[in-house]
Symmetry: C2
Subunit: 551 residues, 2 copies
């Protein structure tokens, strides 16, 4: 990454390593420190690894940042600066210990809370309305405002007392230049720790911090900026580092994504200068693309003003610590508004999205089916298992599919049945199958069909289980089409069996769709998708439908 | 103001009316509406007066914005838009009623709070630490996390229950584009109502909103922008409208304040685009100016890089609704940092500031002295009054001053004593005295001397009673010099008897001064000012000192 020092122009000929720091890995070793000055953030690469700080020092700076009274606020900044630098230089174990100290030692003062509660309950609340006579009511009104004044006072004190002591630490960090970034790093670390140890105190800390971040990162406080090739290298290197969907492979690749026929928009917050919190990449096309290869590799062969479709092909959040704070929804809406205003010819807004959970889900289904099959032949199954297995049997492979897989799959994987062969093919470490024409034609039908079932049927708490599907559905998009061999990259084959989805945003339907999804869990999909879903036994029709282009 | 439509360049020859909408008047009739789009805000001038909305409608939009559950958030924005437009079109009385409804009907749900309190107190808190045996302690630790989990849950519910229902209204407005501006207008109106009726419910509403605004407007979330002649007219017209200290009289005046030898910096928030929340005007000079006339009228006769002093001659907050949220302090610090970086020759950072409370204070002191004098001649005074009157007598006029005022003042005002004449001169509706050389020389000494007493001595809750003095002192500045006939404008004479103060910001002393002022109320002033304060009987020395230039 330090190659960037030498200037982007010189480096145009040197291919870059695929973003090693992309995605979730950022949580543990944030590449950028807090700075008072946007321009100096790039210097971090030099200064970061050389510093060594003791955990006890970092704890002391944290404690001082909390303990300094408000009238000595001038000392807080110096401590926060020390803390920020120190915290970033700590290894994961040190951060974990610090977070535990914060969660436990800077918790709510419960003695004070109970004292105020006793005071509040003794304020002399009036009786319940039904038991009050009219005379009492009118007397009540007179003393109303005076009584309310004591309520307000005690309630305010209670609100203050119910804040954990770490509240002031968060507030002060938020006010400190660069502090918001530290808060995001802190929460990312917290989420990593919680994944392993579900301690109530850490979860309470996380919930509290998340709520603070939501109010600070209100969409109205973010500004949209179109990222172009004219932006500083220090910003562009972040796009390279954070692109989580389709890694940027070279400077040519980056340049293409920012040039004619392409757009890149980021949401920025003043407290984190020079770095988007989230960004989206858009291709201007004549029709909705069916494969990511066309978008990433082909140069646009037409003029921008001939485009009729804006395709969102990548959306990446740069801060793992802002997980659960849906900035993407607002970003997509703002970008649609902007593109519509600037390019009235563009009337279709669609995505080309991965299905990151598909293969994993399918493998687990195939595995339970295989296990059930074994058990069935060994002993009697109880009634609940029968239900489960029969549903699965119905769902997994049709007889024709079973036959085709057995015929074509044997070359690549062992197995006594189509299901076993499919399982072995999909779980193998390589993705050889996607290079065999014979296997591709045998697997297309079952994998496409099961993919639709996965998207439409698989839910968790009433929402689509696939994270990307859930994201677009809750934003009010519709599942329009699924595309075979749409992402033939290693990751595309591994995660989504090479399939990608076009979600469509119809502006006039966004609210309606989102509300239906929220209230009833109804998944909006095109009629073609629903037909495929229903006609799973009419094999010929199925093939026909997948060949249709219907956007 | 609509002249701006035709473009600033064309209008260079047309003098503008002095900002009729400047300062506090904005509170009641905010000139700019909330918009989704920064560029359209200027259109408000056309659309604003024509709309008429019923109060009941505005109430309903407000109620709907609060009542819509979070899973139907899509409907909220439409209601907030209606509400924002409707609210701005209401007359003051309608706004007052709406604020009362908000404060009273959307208050804390006290039944729910008491229910949760009972629940909390029944959680089974452990005994106080001193009465716990070691054995109990170790058992306690085991159940600690489980017990804490219930604490966290109930505390979180309590925090939610203790939020007034209007909290969600504020949160939703803050997330809505243009909503932050509406919140500022709402609070400005609230402050106006509270000034007249100190209802506890309204004060609780104000306190709550103020705390929310403080966390949303954290200095790290604001961005500094240097405002220049190249900025859009829609931004520059706001500088004209909001300049509260020295009204901008013409486009030439505006241009001069943004050109060579001058700087103007604003603090902007992404949610209020195209409009600074606060801005500061700076003159680059060779020495600290003694009169505002030099700064406003003279063209800088030297090159910028010859300047050694940055003079802050005006700081204006544009949002009366953000009163009590000290953004100015952070702005001054940021500007000092920026100027030091860009222009290392500049080593002195000073202000030229009015003393807005001086004449008003002096008049009330003179009046009580006159009243006491009358009472003294009529009847015996009790002991407390003796103390008061003797202190005052000692303070007001020295014999030599008394004599000079009697001699010179008679031409302009009646009176039996110097004090009475001074009172009549200063309370007259015109400011004739400032045009008479004779009176100027008679009044200079007492008015300068008393001004120092006012600045150094007059305190309220341990802080300087003058708002501007308190602002700079709490930011860590020092009172360096006071200047006679430094602001000869109508307002300058009326408010400050034409006197202005130079406060100096010495970067290395800012924190120390601010802390001393906070903790002990110590007012930092130059040794010359303190000498004048102490040698009030050595008249000759006094004159000498005031002629010194000591920065």
């Amino acid at each position: 990454m330090s190659l960037f020092r030498k200037g982007l122009a010189v480096l145009m000929r040197i291919p870059m390593k695929a973003a090693a720091t992309s995605g979730q890995q950022l949580a543990t070793t944030p590449p950028f420190p807090p700075t008072n000055d946007a321009s100096s953030s790039a210097n971090f690469f030099e200064s970061y690894p050389s510093r060594k700080v003791a955990l006890t020092d970092v704890k002391e700076w944290m404690q001082a940042s909390i303990a300094i009274p408000s009238d000595k606020i001038e000392f807080v900044d110096a401590n926060l600066e020390q803390f920020s630098k120190g915290y970033l230089s700590l290894p994961q174990e040190g951060r974990r210990e610090l977070l535990l100290v914060l969660a436990r030692d800077y918790d709510v003062n419960r003695a004070r809370v109970r004292e105020l509660m006793a005071q509040y309950l003794n304020l002399g609340f009036p009786q319940e309305p039904e038991s009050i006579t009219e005379d009492e009511q009118s007397r009540g009104r007179v003393r109303d405002e005076a009584f309310l004044a004591s309520c307000y006072r005690t309630e305010r004190n209670l609100r203050i007392a119910l804040k954990p002591m770490y509240d002031i630490f968060f507030e002060r960090l938020n006010a400190y230049p660069g502090g918001l970034k530290i808060l995001a790093v802190l929460r990312a670390d917290l989420l990593l720790v919680i994944e392993k140890e579900k301690l109530p105190s850490l979860r309470a800390l996380d919930l509290y911090l998340k709520e603070k971040l939501i109010t600070w990162l209100s969409p109205a406080a973010l500004h949209l900026h179109q990222i172009t090739w004219d932006d500083p290298a220090s910003l562009l290197e972040k796009i390279v580092a954070y692109e989580a969907v389709h890694p940027i492979r070279s400077l040519q690749d980056l340049r293409r994504r920012l040039s004619t026929g392409r757009r890149c928009f980021g949401y920025f917050h003043s407290a984190i200068p020079g770095e988007p919190l989230i960004f989206i990449e858009v291709a201007l096309l004549k029709e909705v693309a069916k494969a990511i290869q066309e978008v990433l590799w082909d140069d646009p062969p037409f003029l921008e003003n001939e485009a009729t479709c804006a395709l969102f092909y990548s959306i990446s959040s740069t801060q793992p610590g802002l997980s659960g704070i849906n900035l993407g929804k607002f970003l997509i809406k703002r970008v649609i508004e902007l593109v519509r205003r600037d390019m009235p010819n563009i009337t279709v807004f669609a995505t080309l999205s991965p299905i990151p959970g598909y293969v994993q889900w399918l493998l687990s289904k195939l595995a339970s089916h295989l296990k059930l099959g074994e058990e069935e032949s060994e002993n009697e199954t109880d009634s609940s298992e029968i239900d489960f297995s029969s549903t699965l049997k119905e769902h997994v492979l049709l007889p024709e599919e079973e036959r085709m897989i057995c015929e074509s799959g044997k070359a690549l994987a062992d197995g006594n049945s189509g299901i076993e062969i499919l399982y072995n093919i999909l779980s193998s470490t390589n993705s050889e199958w996607s290079k065999s024409d014979c296997l591709l034609s045998a697997l297309k039908r079952p994998l496409m069909r099961l993919c639709i079932r996965y998207l439409l049927e698989k839910k968790k708490s009433g929402k689509a289980v696939d994270a990307v599907a859930n994201f677009h559905l809750q934003n009010g998009a519709r599942i329009e089409r699924i595309n075979w061999m749409a992402d033939t990259s290693e990751r595309g084959i591994k995660q989504s069996a090479g399939i990608m989805v076009n979600y469509v945003y119809s502006l006039e339907k966004i609210e309606e769709n989102a509300m239906a999804y929220f209230s009833t869990g109804h998944i909006n999909a095109s009629s073609n998708i629903y037909q495929c879903f229903q006609v799973r036994n009419c094999e010929i029709k199925l093939f026909t439908i997948f060949e249709l282009v219907y956007i």
